[in-house]
Symmetry: C2
Subunit: 337 residues, 2 copies
């Protein structure tokens, strides 16, 4: 067990801002990135937490991302706002477009935000929860990275294409999910390789398209979507909506742009907001309360709601602070030398 | 092998209209239902084809559905049209709202149609294809019937909650899928029971929530969603969007309303249309052409597109007419006595 250290949310925020500022990120980008990684760390989503700052710095240092980019907002149509991230990080583009998205959804019933040409590394649930926290329903999707074969295929083509959804609840936490449409996270296969363990045969295929239990062969082969041909269809839908529909690239075009693999994949993200008030007028409150019976019935069966563990972690952090490997904190401090 | 008979599309249309009119459906309802079942039969989707007329007649005879209902259109907000089916069949409500949905999507970028209080028996792909045939992207979902347990649960709660999607292609057929979020169709389990065959253990659970290979136990127990907790999350999203968001019932409330099981479940349907032209302006054509590279890559791997078999059947029907069991045609003719 590695040595752990405790940070308060304020200390983690301050560390993140310092690391990003020291490595050239503008204050606006540093703040947007910090909000996302600190939220993930607070919820004990380590893989999207402070650890991601290492990748952000690496990307800044090899000039794969524009650390100063100013997102440009286009009011495309009554229901659509487009934000050109200008090869900067997606998170500032999202924050730039969010007020317009919310306003459009409230006025029209539903609205879409297309984020284009962004460097994207973050979880989607903080974004859909930014929408549900304002009483709207949020949906988000993005098309990277092309590690996944379509059902019946043999080669990487589709992204791991995550889908996130958040439903506002009258009391307490929203109903939120955020999942990759690959059978498992790529990191899971990498962990098995490091540990010298075999993987279940339905996770991936080798370079010839045959099922494999060898994680190394899987990593040079192709991952499968979850749920067979249905998951593959869903993943294809996400690739189309968060790609050509918003004038951006397809999943298999999001691979690093240069031969050294250092250039970042710039691509798009689609965010949709729906307003129960605009759909239902004065009946909205009644129907949002009624939706609670579904959650009650799920819990009553002994099943869990998707983000329950994360919300419990959030409570724990509020009480006890964040537990981080001391090695990670040291590594982040190294990045300021 | 049962004796087969060949009908032209015109003969099938005429038979369907006669059966429905004889059993009390208004001309408008009879025509809307006929368009749907004939389209399904043409594509050799037998389970949503002319066979469904038997259920339509049964429902009309036991007064579960209003065969004369006139759908009422509410222009709810700039992006939302609501159609109250008034306890009539969903299909006429869909056709009533479609022009408004398309017009709103073209103007705003995206729009939603909420169909409320409808009797629903049809496949969703004819509806999303009605949208993609006009150059827009179509998405549809509906929350029946409550046969499915949430992941980690033990009892029926979620509907089989189908999701359909259709993407317009510059040439030829659209990219369309339409799948239930249950692991398999309920009919598949029923077929196994009739054939005295066992079912795979991951399809369903018995009344105690244990995995079962006995189809009879599965039918009185609960089906599973496809894709484990991810499929369950997706199904829950569909239940919320095509339920409380549109002011209609949840999946578990769509069970037959009376003790005899004859009263029909009236519920809602959500249809969303997105306009590439409104998202992209003059760039739309370029990006729709670019999307073709994804389909080319899928086919190039030897994988199939979701509706390929159906489109091949459509060609076959165009050439050779519809092959139907003679017994079914006789049964339909009986319904006119």
């Amino acid at each position: 067990m590695s040595e752990m250290t405790i940070l308060t949310v304020e200390e983690a925020t301050s560390l993140s801002l310092d690391v990003l500022r020291h490595n050239g990120y503008s204050l606006a980008h540093a703040e947007a990135i910090t909000r996302s990684v600190v939220a993930a760390q607070r919820d004990e989503c380590h893989s999207h937490g402070l650890y991601r700052l290492i990748g952000c710095v690496e990307t800044a240092r090899n000039a794969g991302v524009d650390t100063q980019a100013l997102p440009v907002l286009h009011d495309q149509s009554p229901g659509v706002v487009r934000v050109d991230a200008q090869r900067g990080c997606s998170l500032l583009a999202f924050e730039t477009g969010l007020p317009t998205l919310i306003e459009k959804a409230r006025r029209h019933g539903l609205a879409a935000m297309a984020i284009n040409r962004c460097f994207h590394f973050s979880a989607l649930w903080p974004e859909v929860e930014a929408i549900s926290s304002q009483g709207l329903v949020g949906i988000a999707m993005t098309p990277t990275h092309p590690f996944v074969a379509p059902a019946g295929g043999t080669r990487p083509l589709l992204g791991t294409n995550p889908l996130a959804f958040s439903w506002p609840r009258p009391q307490g936490m929203p109903y939120t999910f955020d999942f990759a449409t690959s059978e498992v996270a790529r990191g899971e296969i990498e962990l098995h390789r490091r540990a010298g363990k075999s993987i279940p045969a339905h996770w991936a295929m080798d370079g010839e398209g045959n099922p494999t239990t060898d994680p190394a062969a899987a990593l040079t082969g192709a991952m499968r979507t979850f749920g067979g041909h249905k998951g593959s269809a869903l993943s294809t839908m996400i690739g189309l909506l968060a790609g050509p529909l918003i004038g951006d690239v397809l999943g298999h075009e999001t691979a690093p742009a240069n031969a050294e693999g250092t250039g970042k994949p710039f691509h798009g993200e689609l965010v949709i907001a729906l307003s129960p008030q605009a759909f239902l007028g004065s009946e909205a409150e009644h129907h949002l309360r009624h939706a609670e019976t579904l959650f009650d019935e799920i819990l009553d069966q002994g099943a869990r709601l998707p983000s329950q563990r994360r919300f419990e972690a959030r409570e724990r952090t509020r009480r006890d602070g964040m537990r981080l490997p001391k090695g990670l904190v040291d590594e982040l401090k190294e990045l300021m030398r």
